[in-house]
Symmetry: C2
Subunit: 289 residues, 2 copies
């Protein structure tokens, strides 16, 4: 078969994206895949087809943002039922393509199938300068812990199904510009996106970095959301990142609030505490719910 590439796999399973280095290329390519299933990730009664299409790619773009990459293209595998009507499909694509094109992730391929429930799997490829992808594993003791935007909005929206919080739930904004900024200007030492809730995701970050974390708060909480929702609610798709003490992070980036919420502590037990007390990972676990 073909000659082995002199490039190869740089980062495999465990980070927001896998990283592949094409032989001779000027940039590394990063890849993420993200599934959504009707009845689990969305409901036909409450989620419009356009919102489903939008969110399907928003979630994957958020992973691209987390590593500081720029989207290059996307692939979509879409399973429909015998009852799915053409209008639903058209609206799904409308939502998908509007966000994909806005962020430079044209749809270039995929698969379609009939199934007993609607589901989709979105793959986004991004580009990042060689060796520069932001990873979860770079946090060092003494680094500050930061989040973008406000937390708990998506969980609040899922509970109330109304207002700005619901909009946040169905139309999360992938923080691509922020991720690019954090990487290109060497601000973040580690970064990931908040898909499964701060408590769960921060546990992943400290584990990957071999450090501990103490959250001091106060958390930037979405208006009306509870502290529980801010700590454990998933699907905010904000960026969680760390930065060395000497780095100036700023209080906002292009109108998006940046808040210091804690400090990376010395290595060892890879634990997460909230004001000194152990904080369990109570966010979304893909295999418990």
């Amino acid at each position: 078969m073909g000659p082995p590439p002199s490039g190869g796999v740089i980062v495999a399973i465990g980070d927001d994206c896998a990283v592949y280095r094409p032989h001779g290329a000027k940039e590394d390519l990063v890849f993420t895949t993200d599934m959504m299933h009707e009845g689990r990730h969305f409901l036909a009664e409450t989620h419009s087809a356009q919102d489903v299409g939008y969110k399907a790619i928003a979630r994957a773009l958020s992973d691209i943002a987390a590593v500081g990459a720029s989207p290059r293209f996307s692939l979509l595998s879409l399973a429909l039922t015998a009852k799915t009507d053409q209008a639903w499909v058209e609206q799904f694509y409308k939502g998908y393509l509007s966000l994909a094109m806005a962020h430079g992730a044209p749809l270039i391929g995929g698969d379609t199938a009939k199934a007993d429930a609607v589901s989709c799997d979105v793959i986004v490829c991004g580009g990042v300068p060689r060796g520069k992808a932001l990873l979860r594993s770079g946090a060092k003791p003494g680094d500050g812990i930061f989040v973008s935007g406000e937390l708990g909005g998506s969980a609040l929206g899922l509970r109330t199904r109304a207002g700005a919080a619901w909009k946040r739930h169905v139309r999360p904004k992938p923080r691509l510009e922020l991720g690019f900024h954090l990487r290109a200007n060497k601000i973040a030492s580690a970064c990931m996106d908040l898909s499964d809730g701060l408590s769960t995701d921060l546990h992943r970050l400290v584990k990957a970095s071999g450090v501990s974390a103490d959250l001091e708060g106060p958390l930037p909480t979405f208006e009306g959301a509870s502290l529980e929702e801010a700590l454990h609610g998933g699907e905010d798709y904000e960026l969680l990142f760390t930065a060395a003490r000497k780095v100036r992070v700023g209080e906002e980036f292009k109108g998006l609030r940046l808040t210091r919420i804690g400090t990376i502590m010395k290595e060892g037990r890879t634990q997460v505490t909230w004001r000194g007390q152990p904080l369990p990972a109570l966010g979304w676990d893909h295999f418990s719910k």
Copy 2:
């Protein structure tokens, strides 16, 4: 955001793979995605977990073979139910990884989720010299039409659930070495894999190439399979390719039979005939069954 790549998308939706050219890279990257759903593509009662995992990536590798590429890596999105047991998952991965590693397609990322039925989506990336991916669109009038191996075995296996035909159905062999050979030695003018049945897939090839095709037969038929199964049965995962008159194809490649089954006719109505009579596309249509 990041600078636009000077490379870019070379082939988008409509061929076996999408083709992307990383800026500065020595090879083009090709991508395919392939979904399987329990109850549609496999049954828990008849398909072992290992067979499901094997077939999930075999189908995607077959698309990589069709464009003459060499696998580089794979991604897997896997949805399991609350009832899926750990042994099933382990056996699935065993089947998947055995074939993935044998063909140089290590699993480097993906997604997992809970859903109401088991399903998976496999993404395989392959590498091919710049501009050299074999496409469906290169067939020219006068070219011979060829297939590898025997046809109808998978359909026969699905009908009888026994013997070599059933093995063919659950463990199709991606023709990666043949695809590489057809491309590297400039034998094929167009190529695709037979996933949905000869009649349906050949219609796609003539449409992409803007030509017509006449099948003269006789077809290389899997022992025990009917002519109907050879013409319209899906999932044989053999290669269908065309070659110019002056090119020597050979009667076999490393023990795999190669059979001339027809001729590409002049451009125009993009029709397919069987011994002069119109041949309808009666294979698997993803959106009719």
